[in-house]
Symmetry: D2
Subunit: 441 residues, 4 copies
């Protein structure tokens, strides 16, 4: 028997991996990880080698007894794993580029998680994650699946509804980021601030904020309303400020992604302008990644480079390692994750994934009861949930009409005819990664 935990990381060649490695190193005294298996596919072998060797140097430098393995053999990595983390990207950044660029040709925001881009990312990702789940059932049935691959909420719900794996958690660094940002603005330590989050991934709201347990929601809302730039929006989203009276009447904290829905025309203009100037966000990220991999290759580098933070994954390792730690130790602290609703948020189906404040126990996350969402936000959340469920059905069945339905009911797409144009062009563009629509080549 191993005397430590085995972690398998699918998509191990990601530029984010040093974040994760650093997290396990820092917390090694309380979270006894003994093996980390970084897995990737043939096409990602080069990146896997680069980032994997950096990981090895980091571990060696830190002097912690963690064995880092690099492999293309997913089954070997999964066998007897305690935690499987997924951060793979089917089709890589090239696919994301299309997710963003094609809709934009039709004046529609691509939005790689809850928009048309997210639809296609889900169509590419879900067949792969369901395969992984089948292997987990066989090779590590006791393991937890911690999914970071976006759209994290949709992927989590697909696993819950269409796989044998029930121990799955979708994770996002958003809620931690908002909490950190607000603490920063208040000038207090983050652990004194607690926010009740409820909604869906990239669509969750901060319902109530407490400071040292005292309700300061109004103060925070007023603060948000007063900002020109809110300072809590993730770096990858244009921060354009809210109309103060709107946020005041909304009464809850929106997340950065809400801008795509409450400020659609403004965001569309921004994105078009930025794309004009520097290419799609995917292209910007591509350049950042190329620079990172350049750095990672330096045989003298043995810590996570500062530049990684500009990549947008702040708190990523924090979120993942905190979660694994709390599960492993039955810590019962409050974290915000994507999990089965089971009644936590009224009006959302019990079997749907929601993003909600939970206590984290060894049995997994237990959502705090949130009752019904406030009236003003209930509709949008339901609309995205409809989109999510139809998207999952399209991903599992490979049915063209279901995919068109998902595209048309997405709130960013303003016409069935445009939906069809975008859908057809994207299907063609992603053909290689959509076996359920086109058959395996």
């Amino acid at each position: 028997m191993r005397n430590g935990l085995k972690i398998a990381t699918i998509g191990g060649g990601s530029s984010y991996t040093p974040e994760l490695i650093e997290g396990f190193i820092k917390r090694h005294h309380e979270l006894p990880v003994s093996e980390i298996w970084l897995v990737d596919v043939e096409e990602g072998k080069e990146k896997l080698d680069i980032v994997g060797n950096l990981a090895k140097r980091m571990v060696e430098k830190a002097g912690v007894p963690i064995a880092v393995h690099l492999t293309l053999d997913r089954r070997e990595a999964l066998r007897d794993a305690d935690f499987v983390t997924t951060q793979f990207r089917v089709g890589g950044l090239a696919a994301r580029m299309k997710d963003e660029a094609i809709p934009l040709k039709y004046d529609v925001i691509g939005q790689e998680t809850n928009g048309p881009g997210g639809l296609f990312k889900a169509l590419r990702t879900i067949p792969v994650i369901l395969d992984i789940c089948k292997e987990m059932e066989e090779l590590c049935p006791q393991a937890w699946l911690i999914n970071f691959t976006n759209p994290a909420g949709i992927v989590t719900e697909a696993v819950l509804r269409y796989s044998p794996v029930k121990k799955v958690i979708g994770l996002c660094n958003g809620p931690i980021g908002i909490t950190m940002g607000i603490a920063d603005q208040l000038g207090v330590e983050p652990e004194r601030v607690r926010i009740d989050f409820a909604g869906l991934n990239h669509m969750s709201y901060g319902l109530k904020t407490t400071l040292d347990g005292k309700d300061i929601s109004e103060r925070v809302i007023a603060m948000l309303a007063g900002w020109e730039r809110d300072g809590i929006t993730a770096k990858n989203i244009a921060d354009v400020g809210w109309v103060p009276e709107f946020v005041e009447a909304l009464g809850v904290i929106p997340c950065g992604y809400h801008r795509y829905y409450y400020q659609t025309s403004t965001m569309l203009a921004k994105i078009k302008e930025e794309t004009e100037r520097s290419g799609t966000r995917a292209e910007v990220v591509k350049r950042l990644e190329d620079e990172l991999f350049e750095l990672y290759q330096d045989p003298d580098l043995n810590v996570k480079p500062k530049q990684l933070e500009r990549r947008g994954g702040a708190y990523y390792s924090e979120a993942a390692v905190q979660l694994i730690h709390s599960i492993h130790t039955d810590k019962r602290d409050i974290q915000v994750v994507n999990t089965r609703n089971n009644g936590a948020i009224a009006s959302i189906p019990d079997d749907s994934a929601v993003e909600v404040s939970c206590i984290i126990t060894k049995e997994g996350p237990r959502p705090l009861t949130m009752g019904d969402l406030p009236v003003p936000v209930r509709g949008l959340v339901q609309q995205i949930k409809s989109f999510e469920r139809v998207t999952i059905d399209a991903a599992v069945t490979g049915d063209y009409r279901t995919a068109l339905l998902a595209m048309t009911i997405n709130p960013l797409v303003h016409s069935d005819t445009v939906a069809k144009l975008i859908l057809d062009e994207m299907l063609e563009a992603h053909r290689a990664h959509l076996p359920q629509f086109f058959g395996v080549s």
Copy 2:
């Protein structure tokens, strides 16, 4: 004691009134109306006289013992009424013109029922209907309020939640029109076709269609998908056809108003073009009305003129008189009305108004249980319901921020900044009819 029913019609000077009169005349043998009181406000006196005198001539010609009264004294009309019908329009067509024109300046569809226009129509109408309800409570507590004033669903919910009157029904000619249209396309008598409707006013879906009790939903959906122009859309909505695969995947019958949400950009283009060519829809209607009143003045006219049908109110009298008849006789037939949800549609609050197939009894409408709406339509319905509830709160409180919230969460409005611009301009334009925001002048 009267030996017949007393009907009070608020907004009696409407061009639709001959429809209603004709309905009562035709059904007089089974629905013993003895008095119809047409009420209007001072500004509408001239139109009331014209249309009221036509009504008198129609009744005389038909030889039925109905006394038609014209009055500006609402209290006199309401006293001991059995049914109160409301078809008034605060601010008249001039106000509707602004409801449509102002949003259009910002590339937003005004949509006089569920869009920004509907928000303002609700803000103008709700204080008046609540006043009427207070008087009804005093003068005719047993009466039924049959509301035709748009936005009919929002107005009905406002009455249910904020007035003592519980015997209220919101009515729309839409569902009858769709049923008639489909029967026509099938080449069968309308009474052989039954459609389960569920949703909100101007946002209800035909969930299932039967012909002689046999489920023909798939056939009807296929028919709809195949049409270039569907033939069931009300005359006042541009009929642009649906993308066939979208309707097939949707699996239920959308109503004409759904075009504003599933075909937003297409409809916006159409409306801009039409407005360019012939002014707003309000202006078109204004011209139609002027022509109608011209006709109505003819002292030889003593029947409903054919031209009224072009006005868009087809089946209006049918809907109203059928409903009153079924209530009065406890007929227990199925009609589609706006009533308290009470669980008929899952996930919508019990106290909200929904538009749903009901059996009509002497105690009022009893909704058939619909369970939950199909996943693909659930989101949009919830979003409009959020908009409706916030709109009602804004109308009752006169709170600026709540009105801005309603405007921003409306799915036709794509940005909080645009929402504010439209709101501010419309508030100013409608100032005279918004005492709750500006005080009574």
Copy 3:
């Protein structure tokens, strides 16, 4: 193709059959039945012959073109049937005798529908009805299953949850009987009275009563409260009167079977006394049946004999034939049946059977939305529903512990130890009819 309907009646040798035949004869002009197949098992052949021949004489006398077939071949009877009615009794009255007598030895009321007796009747019946459903799926997939076999609600739910047949309706003469009884007390024609029923089979409440569509609930409740004997209780239940203030506070009409729960000790004393005097109810019924079959044998008898009414099945043919007629003609009238809840009664699972006022269409019953049950009755209904669901699970699995659980949570059984004693004795007594517990002999 047949030019009339084919009815298959499982348990055709029942003494009730003449009721049913009379119903089809009376309504033949509007319900064109051309074939009635009376099916029974080998042990029931003699009774089948007697009652079947009477049926033939009745049809001949009436001069209607209905062919009556007697058979032991269930498959032949089911083939291409339009309606299958079930009124069989596994184990016959001898089994019912045990259902009543054994619990009584432990001072527990047997109650053949919702009590310990009902548990065992369900355990015997469910495997048989599920077999019938399998055959229906093969031989008459379009047919409706109209189930009269008690416990009708439990059997209906078992079919809904564990068979491929979705076109199933459970029927009971109780609600008609209550409506008739109240009309009689009011001295008005029954069709002027309408009662909203909601709850479970033998556990439904009359929530609201209207006369000519006017709410007279309070008057009816006061009437009930004032009676020493209520006159609406079925003949097979001791009518002991209610404590007036209790019924007034309850505010809804209880059914006769509620006496077992709200008057347990009183009823227990009554039943013990009656059993002492004349044997169990099953034995009383046995004597009545013996007399009936004596009569039925008379070759000169060609109408339903008056004596059948004393049997307790009043309105039985009324209920069955009305229901079949309304389905066949898409009549859309209101009837009270057992059907899938689907949200009609809040807090009861969607997939459970409930007894509720429905409109009857060609597609089957559509429940009127009832919202939540009144607080005072909600608990008992839920408790019986828990019992029903566990009973069904026990019947399907043949699991001893599940059966013990059902017995213990039944509100008539006051201790787990007594539950076990009763269960063990009844299992042994019914061994021949419980293949799922003891294997097929």
Copy 4:
């Protein structure tokens, strides 16, 4: 400003008070209580003095800076309190004696919390607690009300629904006792065991048990099933063992009070026998209390005497002080309390009190989402909830019929006629403490 917390304890003359005092002393280093105000009514002055002086001696002995005040002036005690704890007993043990003895005359278990006795305890208590709430609203609107007075769940719900105080928590030592008992049987430290509790006060079930975060529910159920005496039942309830197969099929941990419902006849026999032998439980308690007050008078006694533990209030101070501590420090640990449901347990109204595992924050308890209760227990919980809600309505209105309804639907009462006899006798017996029924004397 005070530099410590002010606690007001209503019913301060209770024999339990030394428990509470000991708790505050032990935890003083982390819970800085500076004032404890023990309040009682005129009739309780002697006991207040005795126990209050003991409290003073205990505090002095311990050397902690807590000022103990004794008063009959409730307003003075409440002014600016941080926490108000209630442990008063309207009518004292003499009233409880009647709660137990009168039903027993009719062969009905009195059951002082969820039975007929609980009904009357609620009728006596609710007017008083609502008065206290009014005073709290005025004198200490920020304070938390921690209610121990039984029936704790009913009283909590009465406060939630009928008072301005929303910061109320009902507390019971039962769940801690069960957890401790199971830990003891397992031979492990209690903090390693966590049980999900859900249901109502004295009617909650242990849905799942974990040891070090690992699910050991089956093992615990098997253990319970195997015990002759379960060892986890509170000392005041006869421990008669469960039928093993019943507990196994139930699948969740029942609490001691469930014996009254699942073992009614057995418990009734036990209680009658015990009452025969040593008087009602109230009389037994009375003797225990007399002995305790004898001890308390000893001026040399300055610690909580061992004998108090025999009183049945084990873990009482533990529960109270833990709860206050977690609120004060925003500790976010899991405790089981009675609080507003808000969706935590499906099918129970949002505004009802439930007993459920919560995390305790400075804003109060936040229930973990439990989904729906298992089918077998759902019914009984709903039935008790119906009883509780009707009881509260009777207590607030003083309506005789509503009280009769509550009595009749209680599962321990088996007939409406017996219900009336018990009700009438108890109303008369408690007349002095039921101003809402008899007017203020």
